[in-house]
Symmetry: C2
Subunit: 470 residues, 2 copies
């Protein structure tokens, strides 16, 4: 019997990983998608990796045989990042979940890629430390680095871009490298750390991360404030940022989303445009910042602040925010989600959000708006039926207009979800020929056989003529 | 008459740039070095570039003829970044110094690479804005991006890595690209911005930058505090950072450096280890932060705080700090400087500084210590006579021990000065084979003829056996 290249690769990986190789339908199905709807075939096998050395050996086997290798964390990405568009091997890194070391004095830690953000935060809480990047889902930190994740705290603490100190990475041909040290800053050569952060597994597989940690602030205060108008809510955020108040979180939920959250989390906030705030700092500083933001809000049609001062109340508040996506899907039971995000310079945010809201209404779509508006970043959760081809086409056309609008305002087609398979065309428009060619050169030199998560960020050569890729 | 390849290139560039091409000895000499001592031949010609299109045409000419092209800003770098190790064309970008736009509401600006940091700050002061990265010298912002500059404010505001939003770049073959948008964050493809920040002109030439700006804080307070011991000063910094106080600047000057500063700037501070502090924020927050730091300092043998509350006093204080390098050189009139820096995790800073101080004394070197110690970063300004070969050899050996020490403590061989020609061997040790090979692949794919500032960061092929490169 002659084995196909993929079968041959699977047999060779079995020699290394034994029964941690799975070809079961359920396993392959579970690893074929993230949390959003993006159609794709299944991988040929799923391998549960155990250590970096094994990852290097598996990569080398796939490289030699030109079989795709797709890294997988928790499957919570939103743009089809983990789909097996060309089949191949999905490498599940969730069992590589050791917290290698925590250096409290240096406010950093070193972990394996399968560690999730809640696992890390549970581990370091007793030391008075926390890791701020919070995309909502309890994602793996390897996955969060790979998609350059961001979330509610980014306005104060930055994104994964600012909070990854160094990585260990395995390239397609099995070459292992370390991209930096634990030093807070360095001018030593090309910034390879930042090259792999956000590369979506297309340049290499992250096998270890050193992360910045932060001290849990002495004082944390959260509040909710309802607004008469969407514009008033957004203007409040703009003025807060422009006045230099170091707000820790500021989240927008529009009327449709607040209605969904109230139903889903059994809450009774007003179903109007609403901001969720959080303030971090020393007691007097927080007091001063809160007073200024209340003033700004009230000038923009904001109502009374509803406070959450203790940890339990705060957790309830942020849980409501974090379940916004599931709350949106629950508006139409049995539906799927198609989430999209853009990010614009903050001076253009009001205009961009209002035009988008009008477009949703004109298009007859169900798409609540939520946003990390302190960064100029907002999201829509399209509630869809994947079998309704007409709805899909209208949704795609809407997303195209949204991306065009963001670009016209000097922004980006994605603030934090990434490109995956879902936004390759938008990336081409945003980046332009010179940047796409530069990215392609880097991809080709580090992964000449195009085995590393192929067909994400950059098109497959055979799809160069495809008009649309959704 | 047959022209050599370089003469031919110069003739072709003259067709584009006319009398902005200079082959005069004085011009070539002035463009052959930065502010430190690194021996190198002169470039064959200096070209004063006028716009990005011209840069692209010149790059293409050099690429086709395999003639080196060395970007030059203000010549204030410290590791031989602008030396013409293989001759060729030095491209002076100082005349490309237009401030293209300032977006006050978005706290950003777009500028040409020859704009200097003081020029930018003068331009935006009236709008209540400032650009925080301050390496001391009035460097060009293109050069500061290229060396990933940092400086006194980095502990609060980050380095060029965190403050460059997007770049326009010309590659070796003349390809022009834009690496991002004005959005505060983006997950759209590979982070090309961060790849060119710190690449020291070896991957392409920056022709335009979009930068983050910051609001001038409502309250700014600066102070100087003398310590009984060097260890007490460093421990004060460590405890301040660990307690999460968002200090804006904290600079260490050791006894030798304070003596030099007193003489040079005609001041009368105690000639002992000293910290210079600056606090930014709202009035009550600053008050609270100052009180905590005074407490920490006094527990560590710090004396009274000497205050500088108004702008004039503050400027005098920071001028003294910024002239530290020239003050060090003035200790031995006629001497040259050889500056070096390392950066370590902050918990190892005391040990690293004390061991280094002991090594200076044991080696009989004159090398005052200054440092952006809030980041774990410190500098030595070796005061040298370039004709004293024995002293040079001892200095190099000392620097090797310093880099080894920083690496052993989990740090980096340079926190902010960069690699240039001066630290290529240290980079090789720090980064390791996998990372050096990855950097080399990126270099080769973007600059296949190795014309972009060759012999910096990565060795020239012909020097692969050279034992030492100083």
């Amino acid at each position: 019997m002659v084995l196909s290249p993929v079968e041959n690769v699977i047999a060779r990986i079995r020699e290394i990983a034994g029964d941690r190789v799975s070809q079961g339908q359920a396993d392959r199905e579970a690893h074929s998608h993230g949390e959003s709807w993006h159609a794709a075939p299944l991988p040929d096998a799923v391998v549960y990796a155990q250590n970096a050395e094994e990852v290097a050996r598996i990569a080398r086997i796939c490289h030699d045989a030109r079989v795709p290798l797709i890294p997988f964390g928790t499957g919570t990405s939103l743009e089809g990042h983990v789909t097996a568009v060309k089949g191949g091997i999905t490498l599940d890194l969730s069992r590589m979940n050791k917290i290698v070391e925590v250096n409290s004095e240096d406010l950093d830690c070193t972990i394996e890629p399968g560690v999730t953000r809640l696992q890390l935060n549970d581990h370091i809480r007793d030391r008075g430390l926390f890791f701020p990047i919070d995309p909502g889902a309890d994602a793996s930190l390897g996955g969060m680095a790979s998609t350059r994740a961001s979330g509610t705290n980014a306005v104060r603490y930055g994104t994964m871009r600012e909070n990854v100190l160094a990585l260990e990475v395995v390239l397609a041909d099995g070459t292992a490298l370390r991209t930096g040290t634990r030093a807070r800053k360095s001018a030593a050569g090309y910034d390879l750390t930042k090259l792999f952060v956000g590369a979506e597994g297309t340049l290499g597989i992250i096998t270890r991360l050193s992360l910045r940690l932060h001290g849990i602030p002495e004082t944390i205060v959260a509040a909710v404030c309802s607004f008469e108008t969407l514009g008033g809510a957004v203007d409040t955020v703009i003025q807060t940022i422009q006045s230099g108040i170091p707000i820790a979180r500021v989240e927008l939920l529009d009327d449709v989303q607040m209605d969904a959250v109230n139903r889903y989390s059994k809450l009774s906030y007003a179903a109007t445009s609403t901001l969720f705030f959080e303030f971090h700092g020393t007691p007097r500083a927080v007091e001063e910042h809160v007073a200024r933001v209340r003033e700004i809000a009230s000038e923009n049609g904001g109502g009374a602040f509803s406070w959450a001062e203790n940890t339990e109340q705060r957790n309830a508040l942020w849980k409501a925010r974090h379940t916004a996506y599931y709350a949106a899907l629950a508006l139409r039971p049995g539906s799927k989600g198609w989430s999209t995000d853009v990010c614009v310079p903050i001076s253009r945010l009001t205009q961009c959000v209002l035009q988008t809201k009008a477009d949703i209404e004109a298009s007859g779509l169900l798409a609540p708006i939520v946003g990390h508006v302190g960064d100029g970043n907002f999201h829509l959760a399209h509630v869809i039926d994947p079998d309704d081809r007409d709805l899909l086409a209208r949704t795609y056309a809407f997303n195209e207009r949204l991306a065009d609008r963001a670009l016209a305002f000097g922004g980006t087609c994605t603030g934090e979800h990434g490109i995956g398979t879902g936004k390759m065309r938008f990336l081409e428009i945003e980046a332009g020929e010179g940047a796409i060619e530069t990215m392609s050169r880097i991809k080709r030199t580090l992964d000449p056989n195009n085995i590393m998560n192929p067909g994400k960020i950059l098109r497959l050569p055979e799809n160069s003529d495809a008009a649309k890729l959704f």
